[in-house]
């Protein structure tokens, strides 16, 4: 048979292309499938491993802290298509819709992350599979929080934001640039409903009012308040009036807060009146951190004897509760729920789960500002068994500012566990047996977000939907309010007021310059 040079040339060219381009591709594919097993889990941040996540959470994007020139992650569960993510950088960004579909199809199932890294041109490494659990129960769709830098006395740039937990979209609720760079704080929602909320403003031109949002209508209330808590009926708000002062340490945590004098009061929304029942405004005691039980029958709060500033290390708060009858507006006896004498610690920020089963709070060495206390840890009191225990989800840095989801299955709290300075929101699943599962960090679109984010997350609150009232409306209510409510003070014969009977008790205004952030 004669040789056919053109044919041979063609074969040769094809072989050249094959070995030049195709073979390495095949080799790489083979190399990937023949990855060396690294018998350990991959180092990653955030560490989304061994956690329980809601089925409606945004993608848990992360950064692999492993050497490599290329990375692949396969995300799979029992049902549905696995998600394959390839990246030339250690940042792993998971596509939103496939992620949402995968989670929704596998509630109650395990979620697997298979992580590969190419360490050499033809060498892949495979790490131990990372496993998480997809809970059956969803988390509330939105998280509201305040963002600010670690502040002392000066504040220029802070605001309240909300985030759609399903897609990580963040928007402003109220930024202080819209009202002369005042302070905004203590946002609180009625029954996790974004249409009804209250928050405080401190602004030199506009005073220190409260903003009340009811069914998306904003009113300015000419009443300075501290921490707030809605009664579940929506008819009244418990508030604290504190005399807080910021001071500094030369060793350890720099900032500290001393509360010289604080009382609780009740703002009746329907009648626009303020009352200060004696039981929650005792002389010689400081009452603070009001929090209504979900059924509205109890008001929980922290209480400690008043002492001088020089004894600040000895200040330890109990958690108390007092029964309240809404219909008759009567108060019962105060009972101690968490005793400082027994715990030898100071108890703050009581929050009862919506199902009424657990009381979640912080214990720290002293005082009532746990975010400044590295010793602050989350504890839970089972309201049925009265068993108190420290949660395993704590860190060696401050853990505080906790709140519940509307279905009682999730909590969110602020933790400084990563660096001791900047608080980040963490979520933990609470199962029906009362176990608090390993927390996970609020996911971000950019996996490396937290590496260069200088703001701290303050007062994270889970809400069922977005706040609808516009920032413009809120700012107008501060600067040019259409409606200003000036509460009347209802006379109480047993008040501790120093003045004439019926006079308002002397609630101390917190000096603006001294208020902590």
């Amino acid at each position: 048979m004669k040789s056919n040079p053109p044919y041979q040339l063609l074969i040769g060219a094809a072989l050249a292309v094959w070995f030049g381009l195709g073979w390495p591709l095949v080799s790489r594919a083979d190399a990937f499938d023949q990855a060396t097993v690294e018998h350990r889990p991959p180092r990653m941040f955030p560490e989304y491993s061994g956690t329980t996540i809601p089925p409606n959470i945004a993608p848990l994007n992360f950064v692999l802290e492993e050497p490599g020139t290329r990375f692949r992650v396969r995300i799979r569960s029992t049902q549905g298509h696995p998600i394959e993510v390839s990246s030339r950088t250690p940042s792993v960004v998971i596509p939103l819709q496939p992620w949402q579909a995968l989670l929704r199809a596998n509630t109650g199932q395990l979620l697997y992350l298979e992580v590969f890294a190419r360490t050499q041109p033809d060498r892949w490494v495979r790490f131990d599979t990372v496993t998480n659990t997809i809970a059956r129960e969803e988390i509330d769709g939105y998280l509201a929080y305040r963002l600010l830098k670690p502040l002392y006395n000066v504040y220029v740039n802070l605001g309240i934001y909300q985030r759609n937990l399903q897609n990580s979209e963040e928007t402003e609720v109220l930024h202080n640039r819209s009202f002369d760079h005042g302070c905004v704080n203590c946002h609180t929602f009625l029954n996790h409903n974004p249409d009804n909320m209250a928050l405080n403003i401190r602004s030199k031109p506009s005073g220190n009012p409260m903003l009340l949002v009811r069914s998306n209508t904003v009113a300015k209330v000419a009443k300075t308040a501290g921490y707030l808590s809605w009664h579940p009926s929506g008819r009244l708000l418990a508030f604290s009036a504190n005399k807080l002062s910021l001071f500094y340490h030369t060793v350890g945590e720099t900032r500290d807060v001393f509360d010289a004098e604080s009382d609780l009061g009740i703002y009746r929304v329907d009648s626009n009146t303020v009352v200060t029942p004696r039981a929650i405004a005792l002389p010689k005691y400081n009452e603070t951190w009001p929090s209504w039980s979900p059924d509205g029958r109890y008001l929980y709060f922290s209480r400690a004897p008043q002492v001088g500033r020089q004894h600040f290390r000895q200040v330890r708060y109990d958690i108390m509760r007092i029964r309240y009858d809404l219909e008759h507006d009567t108060w019962g006896e105060v009972e101690t729920m968490v005793s400082a004498r027994e715990t030898r610690l100071s108890a703050n920020q009581p929050r009862v789960s919506p199902d009424g089963r657990f009381l979640l709070f912080c214990l720290c060495k002293y005082g009532n500002f746990p975010v400044y206390q590295p010793s602050s840890d989350l504890h839970v009191l089972d309201l049925q068994s009265r068993q108190l225990r420290r949660l395993d989800i704590n860190s060696d840095q401050s853990d505080s500012w906790h709140s519940w989801s509307s279905n009682s299955r999730w909590i969110v709290f602020s933790s400084k566990r990563r660096d001791g300075l900047l608080a980040r929101p963490h979520f933990s699943y609470v199962d029906r047996e009362g176990n608090f599962h390993k927390p996970f960090l609020l996911p971000q679109k950019d996996p490396a977000f937290y590496d260069s984010f200088l703001k701290t997350y303050n007062v994270p609150e889970l809400v069922t939907g977005p706040v609808q009232v516009s920032q413009r409306e809120l700012a107008r209510a501060i600067l040019q309010p259409r409606q200003v409510l000036t509460p009347a003070t209802a006379a109480k014969p047993a008040d501790k007021a120093a003045g004439p009977a019926g006079a308002a008790p002397p609630h101390q205004e917190t000096p603006v310059a001294d208020r902590p952030r």
């Binding site: 001071f247 500094y248 030369t250 060793v251 500290d256 990563r418 001791g420 300075l421 590496d451 700012a475």
Partner: protein, 631 residues
């Protein structure tokens, strides 16, 4: 349609070669003067130090600007302002900005008149120069905003459209774009110039009114659609342009447009000055260029000379001196701080702090403290009761002393007040390393890495953190760590003596704490404590008693009736004793009339502690050639 040709002009028809030559000469002269004046006199690095906006690469930073009117111009301005960190580069770019403004102004004016405009187009550049004289103004924001506005106007007036409706439609379409990109000030200028052009130049008054109406409506509509605070935007613009050169710069363009419109009518009239009744018309007639464009020298030279004179007259030398002190201190150039210090003619807390730091670092605190401005009542470590301007300076001082927590406090105040400035980020990184929070330090360094000109430094520090989370190899960290206090002091105040004493309790060899403590005693007239602590000299390597301590000891001795002091084996220098005798003789001469003798005593003893003791201040002359007390 004679108006049309007059509106669009005939480039080159009104100028002759001599005028062009003079114009070029003027341009070169302006360039040289502008560039070197900005570079050497103003010094853009000081501009940046005063009010340089922060800038970071990355989408996160950009996002802060895209949702506000004028945000993109601010973003661009922030980027360009970074070049001011290198003075010659910043000066070059600012000069280019000024020339761009002049070029666009010239094009615009020539579009509105066929009369030769001579040097009028240089006026904005001159105002810009006067603006740069006022350290602290966001000059790039003004430049970019004006340029953008003028370019839009230039494009609009160049449109070949004759239909009023079409022109109004184009104006309306461009308006929201300009408002979004450039913000309130530029938009107002655009609206004003558009209205003037249409109603005065082109005599289309209805169209001019339409421009005004659109100009008023667009911000309002944008505000409603995007839920922004219009009043806040306007307020922000007004507050950001507080000084007269900025106001003049904005006003120049509408006034110039009206003026050329008036001049054009004068040219058309073609009559002598006697025809006009008012003096204003006569002056305008005298000043106008003639049709042939014959050179009038004063048109070119006078404004230039006037501007040069104004530039030097309005230059804020005090502010420059203050900035130099702070700038050199931030660079650790202590000798230069002390060279600049005498130029500071105002009592400034921050400058005072930096001068004292410089005195310590150059080994002159104990001997030349009173050769610089000191006055009773000012703490060596002032707190917030003295305001907020000095937060960065006091943070640096506290950190060097070893009061790391308090340094952290003031560094965070500065961070919130001044923004994420590189120097503050770096300081907070150091502070967090000292507090064994390397992860927090990483956050500050990761932010710093995104800043222009700081990427390499931040990257290097991050790599060092990986291998050495305590930065033990870093000289400054290694120096501060042993000085850190170990016993807690809790308070909201900052009692100087207590804080310094605490430092010496933690480490008695903390030289800075010692010298500051002694300085504190001197400044607060606590001679007993100077005597009590003189023995601490043995903890250091002083070979002799420092000058001011000698002065205090002699004074103490005199006040205590000659009571001997245990100097721990160190004699007082004979020259100091002799000088003290001379001082005593002088004060005896002015017994009961010390105010009368102030000038005389200041001349001979103005740099001594004795003078301060009597008059509770020193005036801060150039340090005399005091023989350094060997330490």
């Amino acid at each position: 349609m004679a108006r049309k040709s007059q509106v669009h002009g005939s480039p080159g028809s009104a100028e002759n070669p001599r005028a062009r030559q003079a114009s070029r000469f003027l341009a070169v002269a302006v360039f040289i003067f502008f560039y070197f004046y900005v570079w050497l006199q103003i010094d853009p690095a000081l501009q940046y130090h005063a009010a340089g906006p922060v800038f970071f690469f990355g989408v996160g930073f950009l996002k802060e600007f895209v949702m506000q009117a004028g945000g993109l111009v601010e973003y661009g301005a922030a980027f360009l302002a970074q070049c001011n960190q290198v003075s010659w580069l910043g000066a070059l770019l600012l000069t280019a900005g000024a020339f761009s403004m002049a070029w666009v102004t010239r094009r615009f004016l020539r579009r509105t008149t066929d009369a030769p405009i001579q040097s009028a187009h240089w006026v904005p550049a001159f105002f810009l120069l006067l603006l740069l004289n006022q350290y602290g103004h966001p000059s790039w924001r003004t430049i970019l905003g004006l340029l953008l506005s003028l370019c839009f106007v230039l494009g609009y007036v160049s449109l070949p459209l004759q239909s009023g409706w079409l022109r109004l439609t184009v104006f309306g379409a461009l308006s929201p774009l300009l408002y979004y990109v450039a913000g309130t000030g530029s938009f107002l200028l655009w609206t004003g110039l558009g209205a003037i052009f249409e109603s005065v130049i082109c005599r289309r008054r209805l169209l001019g009114a339409g421009c005004l109406i659109l100009g008023g409506a667009v911000p309002g509509v944008v505000s409603v659609l995007f839920d922004t605070n219009l009043a806040g935007e306007i307020k922000r613009w007004i507050l950001g342009e507080p000084n007269w050169p900025a106001v003049a710069l904005y006003l120049f363009f509408p006034l110039a447009t009206l003026a050329v419109a008036g001049l054009r009518r004068l040219n058309m009239a073609g009559q002598g000055a006697a025809r006009f009744k008012s003096r204003a018309y006569a002056v305008a007639w005298w000043l106008r260029p003639d049709r042939s464009g014959r050179l009038k020298p004063y048109w070119h030279a006078a404004p230039f000379v006037l501007t040069v004179a104004l530039a030097f007259l309005t230059f804020d030398a005090d502010r420059k001196a203050l900035l130099q002190v702070d700038y050199f201190a931030s660079q650790g150039k202590w000798d230069q701080v002390l060279q600049a210090a005498p130029q500071v003619r105002v009592d400034n807390v921050s400058a005072h702090l930096q001068v004292n730091r410089a005195l310590f670092h150059s080994g002159r605190m104990a001997s030349e403290l009173f050769a610089f401005r000191q006055w009773q009542g000012l703490e060596l470590l002032p707190g917030l009761e003295k305001g907020l301007d000095h937060c960065r300076a006091v943070s640096g001082t506290l950190l060097e002393l070893g009061q790391v927590n308090l340094a952290e406090h003031f560094a965070h105040e500065a961070l919130e007040r001044e923004g994420d400035r590189p120097a503050i980020l770096l300081e907070l990184a150091r502070i967090n390393v000292l507090k064994n929070r390397p992860q927090a330090a990483r956050v500050f360094l990761n932010v710093l890495r995104k800043a222009p000109f700081h990427r390499e430094q931040a990257g290097r520090r991050l790599r060092e953190l990986e291998t050495d989370p305590r930065w033990q190899q870093q000289e400054e960290i290694a120096r501060i760590r042993p000085l850190m206090v170990s016993v807690d002091y809790d308070d909201s105040r900052m009692p100087t003596e207590l804080l310094l004493d605490q430092l010496l309790q933690a480490n008695r060899r903390n030289r800075m704490a010692f010298e500051y403590l002694m300085a504190h005693f001197l400044l607060t007239f606590q001679l007993d404590k100077v005597v009590e602590n003189i023995g601490r000299l043995n903890d250091f390597d002083y070979r002799a008693i420092p000058r001011h301590y000698e002065e205090a000891l002699l004074l103490h001795q005199r006040l205590k009736g000659g009571q001997k002091i245990d100097l721990r084996g160190r004699p007082i220098d004979l020259r100091t004793e002799q000088e003290f005798e001379q001082f005593q003789a002088q004060t005896d001469r002015f017994q009961g009339r010390l105010e009368e003798g102030r000038a005389v005593l200041a001349r001979d003893f103005g740099q001594t502690y004795w003078f301060y003791f009597i008059y509770a201040q020193t005036l801060g002359q150039q340090p005399s050639a005091i023989e350094e007390t060997e330490q």
